[in-house]
């Protein structure tokens, strides 16, 4: 089985496939088309925001949350999750804002009882929110959890399910929520009805993102010198085949091109801090890794399947606004433009 047969469209890092059962086509609004650019914002300033880009006309609308709601987003934007006809804006400063994807008008929020939320998944009428929990004295997060909220438009946290340290992405399937336990290399499976962890899968790398297609769930996980793509058999909730690719210093940022490739950001970190964009092409058991661009400050990646273009966000040291560079699939720079502060991801409709 070739990975490239399994991956298509849906380029945003965290958009999971639970919404594929909604079926019905909604009329397009002002913002639920084109590309949403997620700008995390600066620590201590809470100036996270969303920009909207029309990739054909190149028209860019800044700060659309503040424009449509007459108040600042006021948070560090960690993730954007499009599920159940709603757009969930997850702020790791302790809240989730819920907007109508078409006009970006606020329709609800989860604003109490959260510490450092990372991502969100919808299951039935419940929201599951992964949260690092509070830092302890040595900046560790021993009290990480997944918070449960009854109601898709937000409300109060009714339960916190303890999980391994630093949970990241979530994936909802059937009656289960899978949790990417990034620090302890675990996948924890929560029963959505019981609201309890019922099973744990141990990995050899740190899981960052889920990606699903055709009943098979993929886990993107990273180690120091390689990345591993695991598969999960969703009927038995067991690990299947895995693919190990020699990519060093991979970050959590990945985009899928829908045909045959994935694009990953790497960073050598301290002290050389060389960042790269690499493409990974898996054919059978053979993986080809190609370096597309090098630089410093890369902070997010996305892929536009319509125009076959790669979007690379650069946070520019958080000193001010960041930039986005558009690349062809072969790494040719097409254009570059300024966006908000700390651009970190893309939602491509």
């Amino acid at each position: 089985m070739k990975l490239n047969q399994l991956l298509w469209a849906a380029a945003l890092i965290s958009v999971s496939f639970a919404c594929s059962d909604s079926g019905e086509e909604k009329p397009l609004g002002k913002y639920n088309n084109g590309i949403l650019i997620m700008n995390e914002g600066n620590f201590g300033t809470n100036d996270g925001e969303v920009y909207h880009l029309n990739p054909s006309s190149e028209a860019l609308l800044p700060n659309i949350f503040e424009t449509e709601n007459m108040r600042p987003f006021a948070g560090l934007l960690e993730d954007m999750v499009f599920e159940a006809d709603r757009l969930y804006l997850v702020a790791n400063t302790g809240k989730v804002e819920i907007v109508n994807p078409g006009d970006f008008k606020s329709i609800g929020a989860v604003s109490a009882e959260l510490d450092q939320p990372r991502s969100l998944a919808v299951n039935g009428n419940k929201l599951f929110i992964s949260d690092y929990g509070p830092y302890d004295a040595s900046y560790a997060t021993p009290d990480s959890y997944v918070a449960v909220v009854n109601g898709l438009d937000g409300g109060v946290v009714t339960k916190k399910i303890a999980v391994s340290n630093k949970p990241e992405d979530l994936f909802s399937h059937g009656n289960y929520i899978l949790v990417a336990g990034s620090e302890e290399n675990k996948i924890e499976i929560i029963d959505a009805t019981q609201e309890a962890v019922i099973k744990t899968l141990d990995l050899e790398a740190s899981p960052k993102q889920f990606h699903a297609e055709d009943g098979i769930l993929w886990i993107y996980a990273v180690k120091a010198n390689e990345v591993i793509f695991y598969t999960v058999n969703l009927s038995s909730m067991t690990l299947g085949t895995s693919y190990t690719v020699p990519v060093a210093n991979a970050t959590k940022s990945i985009a899928f091109d829908g045909d045959d490739e994935m694009f990953v950001l790497t960073s050598s970190g301290w002290p050389d801090y060389n960042d790269t964009v690499v493409s990974i092409d898996i054919e059978g058991s053979k993986a080809t890794v190609t370096e597309l661009m090098t630089g410093s400050g890369f902070y997010g990646i996305g892929y536009d399947d319509d125009l076959d273009q790669i979007y690379v966000a650069n946070a520019k040291g958080f000193q001010g606004n960041g930039t986005v560079t558009v690349l062809s699939e072969t790494g040719t720079v097409i254009r570059s433009f300024d966006v908000g502060r700390g651009p970190s991801g893309f939602l491509v409709y």
């Binding site: 300033t45 809470n46 600042p72 006021a74 946070a315 958080f318 606004n321």
Partner: protein, 618 residues
Amino acid sequence: MFLLLWAFSLVAASPIQDTVKLVEVEVYAPALDRFAQGQKVMSWKKEDLESYQGRSLASILQEKSPVFIRQYGAGMIASPSFRGTSAGHTAIFWNGLPINSPSLGQSDLSILPISAIDQVSLQFGNAGALFGNEAIGGSIHLESGSRFGNGLELGLMQQVGSFGMLNTHLTGGFSTQNFSSKTRVYREFSKNNFPYKDLGLIGTPEVKEDHAKFDQIGFVQDLGWNLNERNQLKAAFWWNQTNRDVQPVMGSNTRDEQEDQSIRGVLDYFHFGKKSIWNLKTGIVQGKMIFNESLNQTTQYFVSGDWDQTFSEKWNTKTGIRYSLAQGKLSTYTADDTRVELYQSTKFNANEDLAISLNLRQLIYSGTFAPFTPSLGMDWSFWKRSNQYLQLKTSIGKGFKVPTLNDRYWNPGGNPELKPEESLSGEIGLNWSGTGKITWNQGLTYYKMSVDNWIIWLPKGNVWTPENIKKVSNQGIEYQGTLARQIGSWNWKLTTSYTFSKAVTTRGTDENDQSVGKQLPYTPQHQANANLRVQKAGFSSLIGTFFVGERAVTADNPRTMPSFQLFNFGMGYDKLTFGKLRFPVSFQINNILNTDYQVLYLRAMPGRSYQFNLSILL
């Protein structure tokens, strides 16, 4: 008495300087502007600080000076910006000891309470030669002291105010002709549970701040001895502890707690010769900060000596040396830094209207030479009439900032290869002063400065590291005026100030840096304040306002914060007596119009607040 002789000679040498004049009842303190010709200096004495009792240094600077205060909430971290420079470009001294944290290179003005201080002076512009490290944008000089010959003095002040404010200050002093002691104990507490519109919540409801509690206690001891006519000892000790719930930025629900504890002690020995003053000074400054549970502690030891000599009516010099040892014990590193600095000042009084000074300083830190800093200045009263005169002040000088311990040693990321920041500045000012029915002082200053090798921390992957990257150029105009008049039995005094400051990045992080040519973040171009004080017999009333112009959140300026103007009002009566006891009472309203404002983005600030002060003095 030699002390008195000195008072006369100093006054005679600089007839029109508004300086601390040595009066025989006071413990000697060298005048700040003795060699600061051509530089802008302003100061507030005990009586000016009266209406700021119970508040911090941040408040008086924001409301009455051209300095901009970057304030992270009510009672939260507040740092000064002189002439568009950053918090690390302000040297702060307490009784002549530099008290900026050697690890951070700056001080939090919110935890420098006015009640522990008797005099505040501000000096603007580069003064590396006169004051050393970090005097780039300017410097702040805090003095405490006792007086001789006053017998027993006791005082109790109680303040009650909005948002759970409860302050208690106790003062006790005893002095003879040759010995003086003054003790102060204080507690300043505020729940800071003020209401504000929470922009981070859906529907922006009005909520009460529930995590900005401020609790500060402190103890100050001042001592002075006249050993004999020629020798004086002076000692001061200050312990201050502040516990704060750190007010979260709107949209965050952090529950951080910060404890700051400082111990500062200084011992001065003065020998008054026929035409010279010898000063030996030794001191310790210790700062301990516990943020949540992580502990950062620094200790600095100082020993210095200088010799101030008057050769003739025309020539004065001061020569000195200071040794300091800074020790940092932080959560991520431990480091020491030894510094030796030599300084020399010379003043030439051509005549009573013209004084020129030349100052030089060389600092060596951990074996590295900081930039040599000379400065040259002139005061020239070129036009005089019976009751008024015009004075020209001009100076040029250099300043420097040694990379802080954090800059050099923070693990990971610290950069031991950093060079000191270096600055050059010049200013020219005109003062017009007059006395008579109306007394006035109106001054206009133009300044220009540049700071090179400006250190900024940039993220490199997951690690932040400092680099000597930016170059910044500042220029501006400062207007400052006072106007006083007696009408019948009413005394009126109006003080006004306006500042225009253009501080732009001239070299950025790279060729695409959008900040080049733009105003520095959180640096308003326009700032103004005005205060009117009216007095009759024991009654006084004060109305004040200050305006802070638009300022950008980041260096590339895409988002700006709106300007704001606040009004304060106060009145008091201090002639209430019972036998020997006096009972001054006063009442104050801050932010009268209940203006909703933020100094920094999404940092809520309190609306209207009330405060009652009652004292019992013996």
